[in-house]
Assembly symmetry: C2
Homo-oligomer: 157 residues x 2
């Protein structure tokens, strides 16, 4: 993190809220991933995964915050908006974040198996990508990874 | 098309309905893309793009039919379901179709600039892809391509 415009305490606060959303998702029996969408210091949306509750495979935290913020701003584009998310976005969410013209993505843990930003298809590096958000990774990485690891461990037990 | 289980008249009928949804989308001022979701000969959902109307960049035809069919079946998985769509799915929709465990995708026109199945990231060929639907392309290709070409031409004029 060397971004002067977003000093450490700011991203830390938003990532804490994303982690809180991940914990709330876990309490609902969902995969514990959370996201917060921010513009100019204002939180426009926050959500955790709700795929089971809503019977909707697209109800990932990132898609939910995009949809909520778009509804709030009455726009399908969110320029100047940043998303904080506990896990590296999957290809579906990475593409949705691009379509929404999200400015920056701050994520916690990398996802070798399911990520679409820095792993797998690396969508923002594709020549066909029209808008590539700036990406900052590894924020609160240990906490973000631990909550997921514990969740899957407890399901195996 | 060499699939004995789905003779020509059947896919042709569903693709005609997808094209009808594309035309209805155009009448609403949306990019003319349509999709139909079918299981065992029953149409579970049909939709055209609604990104502008809903202020939702994720409201592509494919995502809308997935969400509608999932709501109807009260499940976030749609095994045994096939999707007919006029244009090659983008990376967001391709991933959503995989998450939903769609069995087969029949699409019309290929999309060199925005497709995610046979162009760009070719998501189902990625080693990290957990479920790759069978893909049949080029159905009613000329009609599917023409409606999009005419739409963008008329917007440029």
């Amino acid at each position: 993190m060397t971004d002067d415009a977003v000093p450490s305490p700011t991203w830390s606060r938003y990532m804490d809220l994303a982690l809180e959303e991940a914990r709330l998702a876990e309490q609902r029996g969902e995969v514990p991933i959370g996201a917060v969408l921010v513009r100019d210091g204002e939180i426009l949306a926050r959500a955790g995964n709700r795929t089971l509750e809503l019977n909707d495979p697209t109800a990932h935290a990132e898609v939910l915050v995009i949809r909520e913020a778009c509804a709030r701003l009455q726009s399908q584009r969110l320029p100047g908006c940043d998303v904080y998310v506990t896990l590296e976005p999957c290809p579906m969410c990475a593409t949705a974040l691009s379509f929404a013209r999200i400015r920056r993505i701050y994520y916690g843990a990398g996802d070798e198996k399911g990520g679409g930003v820095d792993h797998g298809p690396r969508l923002y590096a594709q020549p066909t990508c029209h808008h590539a958000p700036e990406v900052y990774s590894g924020l609160a990485e240990q906490d973000c990874a631990r909550i997921l690891r514990d969740f899957f461990q407890s399901r195996r037990d």
